[in-house]
Symmetry: C2
Subunit: 428 residues, 2 copies
């Protein structure tokens, strides 16, 4: 039987319930990867009677977070309360008593990260915080480990989903800031008091954390120059577009001549830049290293399950490191069968060279129909030439059927030849 490890959870809001959902859904897999069975022993919440979005055994709940931190059976504390107090004191106490801590708390990390990391190192335990920046996007660990061969030169991030959503709508629809904010609030992307997002403070906490890690230097949040998006107008965006730019709220940390630029402000970037393609609530972090060159990490920067994904990954690491286990991914026994290509389903682009005469389209469409292939769009081009191009995009269909249809179509007298077939991956 697998050994088990007891976890204490501080907070059961958006992120906390994401963590519990993931442990419910993928628990066996997660325990296998951790090398020990992960057991939630206690959950501290503000109101133990509140209805929750995820099923929780009532006897796990307590209103006193100190009960969790002081429980000697708990080896790892997951802090997802947010804010500085009492999170700071709880994390400190947990580390002091030899527990590892996983947190998604950007503010406490940005303001007290160095002190807490030092405490963790002194006590020989882990303080992990992948969830504190950019939700589900792996960035803390890649910076600390995957890029450890590099001298990092710059980090440029779109790390606030709310403002990126607003700027996307302002850019697409020409609406002003206030209207974009209202829409973001209606969708739950912006809070009733949106100050922390729209003034850039949220991004400032996150870039302070990234800058400290990437440049191995303490960065005070108060040193981060911070300017929000409240003054951006539809006219500015339109002029920018004319000049070939897209507007983004950027969080920048860049080393230049032995000094560090760390700032958050709206900026125009070339429309061809990968960051310009980051739309809606998505986040992305662009990194330049002396060896690796340019990298970008893109994904969902917030939300219950994405942030929960980062927190649970840290939890798995914390367990593995406490057990020096080697749970890890492995190429296991229970194999998935590979589906033969004939049985895969796709949409298909089909280009034909055909004789230009009445009824051609009808006879080809009939042949598709007979083999169960239905057509999404057709392009017919090049009158006056012979042969002319006829291009179809099908709806989703099994490869087998399209092959059969094309064999039949290739034999039609009006068809010179099938010039190409290319799969269309419309929802990659």
């Amino acid at each position: 039987m697998q050994e088990s490890v007891q976890i204490g959870l501080l907070g059961c809001g958006t992120v906390g319930s994401g963590v519990l959902s993931i442990l419910n859904a993928n628990g066996d897999r997660i325990s296998a990867r951790a090398g020990a069975s992960i057991r939630i022993r206690r959950i501290a919440v503000r109101d133990v009677r509140r209805q929750r979005s995820v099923p929780v055994e009532p006897e796990l709940l307590t209103a006193d977070p100190w009960e969790v931190v002081r429980d000697p059976a708990i080896e790892i504390v997951v802090e997802v309360i947010g804010g500085v107090h009492p999170a700071l004191e709880l994390i400190r106490a947990a580390l002091e008593s030899g527990k590892s801590v996983v947190t998604a708390n950007k503010e406490v990390l940005a303001k007290h990260g160095p002190e807490l990391l030092e405490l963790a190192a002194r006590r020989g335990v882990d303080l992990l915080f992948e969830g504190s920046v950019a939700g589900g996007i792996p960035i803390i660990k890649p910076l600390r480990e995957s890029l450890a061969a590099n001298r990092i030169k710059a980090i440029v991030g779109i790390i606030n989903g709310t403002t990126n959503y607003m700027l996307t709508r302002m850019s697409r629809e020409g609406i002003p800031f206030e209207e974009a904010l209202r829409k973001a609030q209606e969708l739950g992307y912006a809070e009733a008091d949106p100050t922390s997002d729209v003034e850039g403070y949220d991004a400032a906490f996150k870039i302070a954390i990234l800058a400290a890690l990437a440049f191995e230097t303490p960065v005070q949040v108060s040193d981060v120059y911070c300017e929000g998006i409240t003054r951006i107008t539809p006219e500015d965006i339109r002029y920018g577009q004319e000049l070939g730019y897209a507007v983004k709220l950027l969080a920048i940390a860049r080393e230049d001549g032995g000094r560090l630029d760390v700032r958050v402000h709206p900026a125009f970037i070339p429309q061809s830049h990968p960051l310009a393609a980051v739309q809606d609530v998505f986040n992305a972090i662009y990194v330049r290293g002396d060896a690796v060159g340019e990298l970008m990490f893109y994904g969902r920067g917030a939300g219950s399950l994405p942030t929960g994904s980062a927190v649970v990954a840290d939890l798995i690491d914390a367990v593995r490191r406490r057990r020096s286990g080697n749970g890890h991914f492995r190429v296991s026994g229970e194999a998935l069968a590979v589906r033969p290509i004939e049985e895969t389903v796709s949409r298909y682009y089909v280009s034909l060279k055909v004789v230009d005469q009445p009824g051609v389209l009808a006879s080809i469409a009939a042949a598709f129909g007979e083999e169960g292939v239905s057509i999404g769009s057709v392009i017919q081009k090049g009158r006056l030439e012979d042969p002319v191009d006829l291009v179809f995009v099908t709806h989703e269909v099994k490869e087998e059927y399209i092959r059969r249809a094309l064999e039949k179509i290739g034999r039609l007298p009006v068809v010179r030849y099938v010039s190409n077939v290319i799969r269309v991956e419309a929802d990659v």
Copy 2:
């Protein structure tokens, strides 16, 4: 004094010399992060007398790779020879004798990965292979660790830079396959025999590795359906563009109903998809997980330093795991000073509301000039209105100067007000 660890290097071609360059440039930093001083003890090369792009002490060189693998002082072997033989036998022997192995060899991993991973696990050593897929882009470790909370649903990658470069040029310039190939060969992106790239075999090795990891299932390379880009024509690309698509060589691994689709083929994807923005030799891997949602990892998929970056990161991990060290990144003492915003340098978008009369542009341009701000572009709009918009984009200038210029410009009688100032980050 720091403990040291002896490394044997097999191969000193593109990737091998990248590894040596990085160790030369960032050696102290790398040793600190590894928790032990990294020493190259022996380098096996085909021709010991050949001139190399990176300085190598001649006494380290040997023409016999077995000498490296059998050296008992060597703890970690870095294999960057490529191909199956003799790489497979060398890796096996190294693992058997208790050495950890770092490799960038996609072919040996795709064909013999499960066997080698099992051998490594049995011997309690590491087999790490971040460099084998997508060069410098961290993807193996994120899949194994950062996404360990997820059930992976799909991986869709642009993981062959040569073909992506060719398709980019074909799409931009309407040139045919043969011409794109010639250009790729001229630039050294394609080899004299381009078969492995253009037929998709290179991508097939890589997706076999990713699929095996992500779905924890053995995947035979021969099970990967593989179709190259040789039949893609400029006409197809143009029709696709009309339909709103971009063409890419995709490597796909997707679970669906308990079976696995693993395939490499050209495909049309919507132009708005993040993968469509991946241009030239860049690679990207799009991942969908049940918790994290959509992620994309973007960067340089090949090259001496980018791949070297991945190999050295693995090397650091291998050292740390052998020493159970905690070298790691830390927020160190030697702090970098944060530059005050006034001293930062940027380009600026400046929009003004001005009186529409002759000489306005001249007087504003003069004010910019007096404060050392030089102008890149100007947009003047809205004749017949009062006030009219006047928009400038400056060349690079210190924030301090732009502030001084704007103060002066704000006081000009022809200027109603400065409506906005937005930084332009043209080379993010």
